[in-house]
């Protein structure tokens, strides 16, 4: 998209790009902005009337407390471990299954696809007691592995359906060409499929990662203070005596930022398909 120096072009550019982008960013970021400035406001300013849109006094005390004695780094490590492990496991399992669903014809295929889809239709709150028994009998309680297993299960259906949807949107002719060229199926999968699937795998991966990074209910049940993840740690800032807003907001900010930075680097891969577009067709 090149900007031409005609005024009509400039108006069009503003109307179709600049304005919508701005509106979206304001809507999407304002709550985050509010969270951030709450975290750096001294207590008195959080409840100031009229509202302060910019802190008069900045304080980083909350962050010191968060990383100091609240030991937030520990929870971030736990969340990161679980999220990355879940992402890898779930992505591998899902890609294999999705490939089978979209490129093979076999008995029970429709049934199994339906089964996968129905997996997430049941509210987790009712599954907790049996799930706890299962985790306990497998000796996985309070271990990151247990959480990874649970998250893998709850993300697989989505990922499988998502990836098979993507695969079905990819023209079959590509793979056929590779097969005709003498590649075996594995070769076709690795050389042709994976590169084209990169954006899709990345999207699915981000979805799975977020799930592991942010999930509360299962984590609150299957972790202990040593293996606790971010959302549960944040929730412990909400006591009967109200919310520690400054800490909660600081924690929220710190939860969001690293993922956004990671995504900033990852998104280049997400749209790399644009340049590789010539391969397809």
């Amino acid at each position: 998209m090149k900007v031409k120096h005609h005024s009509a072009e400039a108006v069009k550019f503003t109307l179709t790009l600049v304005l919508p982008v701005l509106l979206f960013l304001i809507f999407l970021l304002f709550p985050f902005y509010w969270m951030f400035i709450t975290s750096v406001k001294p207590d008195a300013e959080i409840y100031a009337s009229p509202l302060l849109y910019w802190p008069q006094h900045w304080t980083w005390m909350t962050y010191e407390k968060l990383f100091g004695y609240f030991n937030f780094i520990k929870y971030m490590k736990n969340s990161l471990t679980v999220a990355v492990a879940t992402m890898v496991v779930s992505l591998v399992f899902s890609t294999l299954a999705a490939y089978a669903f979209s490129r093979f014809e076999f008995k029970g295929r429709k049934f199994l696809m339906g089964l996968f889809l129905s997996n997430n239709m049941f509210p987790t709150v009712l599954l907790m007691i049996p799930l706890y028994s299962i985790m306990r009998s497998m000796n996985l309680l309070y271990t990151p592995t247990g959480l990874v297993l649970a998250y893998t299960t709850f993300t697989i259906p989505f990922s499988v359906w998502l990836i098979q949807g993507f695969i079905r949107d990819v023209p079959f002719s590509l793979e056929e060409a590779a097969l005709i060229d003498g590649c075996n199926r594995t070769g076709a999968f690795v050389r042709i499929f994976l590169p084209i699937l990169t954006p899709c795998l990345l999207a699915a991966g981000v979805y799975i990662f977020m799930q592991g990074w942010n999930e509360y209910t299962l984590s609150s049940m299957f972790t202990n203070p040593a293996t606790r993840t971010i959302p549960v740690a944040l929730n412990s800032l909400i006591g009967q005596l109200g919310v520690e807003w400054d800490m909660l907001c600081a924690g929220g900010t710190i939860t969001v930022l690293p993922v956004c930075i990671m995504f900033f680097f990852a998104q280049k891969k997400l749209v790399s398909g644009l340049t590789a577009g010539a391969v397809k067709g």
């Binding site: 409840y47 049940m221 412990s236 005596l241």
Partner: protein
């Protein structure tokens, strides 16, 4: 397509018989003690903390206990989020699933459900033999006993926090009120008078009461009921209707902020903290916040008596020992430490919460805190809701929704009370 679903359902039905045997083989494996006695007796203790300071405090108290107790007891304290009551659910799920702690902090209102599933240990023999038993008054023990509905003493008192009224003396002065209300009518009058337009722009900017219309607000309604001669046992009496109307009128007459229907603790605190409300009903737990925010410009009085009587609700944090705990004696030793022992004293000094036992009353923190007197006075008239089977449902769901309907004028006071009565006392 029909075939797909039919196969699917058939599959589900088929496996259901399998699952029947699969899920219930959860025999309990104890993570607890070694009976040989040589090794340390291990206790797993779960608690929630109301803020980060309290979580540190709890850890240090437990550490202290582990270092000083002479019975070689080792308590492992693990924190779980309060999660507006989700704490109790986590323990329930864990124990039903074959895990969970030996003892934990607990809420009276959960006593019945836990007892119904035989999850709680009967501690009465230990309590009977306890020399400090009498430091905690009989009414409190009765309350504990009543909470389980099975005549056993399973829930042990740890801290009780009776509700009373915090107010801003400067607002009272501005409204021309000379002294803190001593009757319920004066209280209502004060709410009316402290609803003010302080800057003269024609809009109310100070509201008399930070009414809590959502979760937890039922505790406040209790004071109204008793003041008008009604009680929790029958919410359909004319007195109850009169009481409820008095309660609703505070909002309908504009003496409480617009946000009252969805207001739970956070909203009422924010309102009082920012100076929007002149009065708030809460317990000792928040006194430190107010003193810090307002200095001398905050005071308190017990919810006054009305023509029908005087009652206030008490918040509670109890300790309970679970049936699966293998060394209940050790657990009780820890309980003693947490109440009349050093742990109880330390906890009180930092949080202001305790049971008014001798070790607590002797501290300078008790003597120097003007709110402790009001709290102690309030505890004399304090109680809890009747421990019916459906109490949790009433508190968690029926109360807020029904009260909100009444506040918003969708249903009449009578109808709302009928719904509450049915929910609270369903057989």
């Amino acid at each position: 397509m029909k075939k797909v679903i039919a196969t699917f359902l058939a599959g589900v039905m088929l496996t259901s018989s399998l699952a029947g045997c699969g899920g219930n083989n959860s025999s309990s494996v104890s993570s607890g003690s070694d009976p040989s006695g040589k090794q340390a007796t291990k206790l797993s203790y779960w608690y929630w903390a109301d803020n980060t300071e309290q979580s540190d405090l709890m850890q240090s108290i437990v550490k202290q206990y582990n270092e000083t107790n002479d019975k070689n007891i080792l308590v492992t304290a693990e924190e779980y989020p309060w999660d507006s009551g989700g704490f109790t659910d986590s323990i329930f799920t864990a124990i039903m699933g074959g895990g969970g702690p030996d003892l934990s902090t607990f809420k009276l209102q959960a006593g019945k459900n836990f007892a119904a599933n035989h999850l709680l240990a009967d501690m009465s023999s230990y309590v009977e033999a306890w020399q400090d038993k009498s430091q905690i008054n009989d009414g409190i023990w009765q309350m504990m006993k009543a909470s389980t509905g099975d005549e056993k003493l399973s829930v042990l008192p740890w801290t009780l926090e009776a509700l009373y009224v915090y107010y801003r003396p400067s607002y009272f002065q501005k409204a021309g009120i000379e002294k803190a209300p001593t009757t319920f009518d004066e209280f209502l009058d004060a709410i009316k008078k402290t609803t003010m337009d302080t800057n003269g722009d024609g809009k109310t900017d100070v509201y008399g009461l930070g009414l809590r219309g959502a979760g937890g607000g039922h505790e406040h309604l209790g004071s109204f009921l008793y003041a008008y001669g009604a009680n929790w046992d029958d919410l359909t009496t004319p007195q109850a209707v009169e009481a409820y109307n008095a309660y609703l009128n505070i909002f309908k007459s504009g003496y409480a902020p617009d946000s009252a229907p969805n207001a739970a603790y956070a909203e009422t605190v924010d309102g009082f903290k920012s100076g929007l409300t002149a009065m708030i009903i809460h317990h000792i737990g928040s006194s430190a916040i107010w003193s810090e925010t307002f200095g001398d410009d905050v005071a308190a009085f017990p919810v006054p008596a009305g023509k029908g009587g005087q009652w206030t609700c008490t918040g509670d944090t109890c300790l309970t020992v679970y049936e699966q705990c293998e060394n209940k004696e050790a657990a009780f030793d820890f309980y003693q430490y947490m109440t009349t022992g050093e742990g109880g004293t330390t906890w009180f000094k930092s949080t202001g919460k305790g049971l008014g036992t001798e070790n607590v009353v002797a501290t300078s923190e008790y003597k120097d805190n003007k709110f402790q007197t009001v709290a102690a006075e309030s505890l004399k008239h304090a109680g809890v809701l009747p421990p019916t089977d459906t109490l949790t449902e009433f508190i968690n769901s029926t109360w807020a929704n029904t009260n909100q309907q009444a506040l918003l004028g969708q249903i009449s006071a009578e109808d709302a009370l009928k719904i509450m009565q049915k929910s609270l006392h369903a057989e």
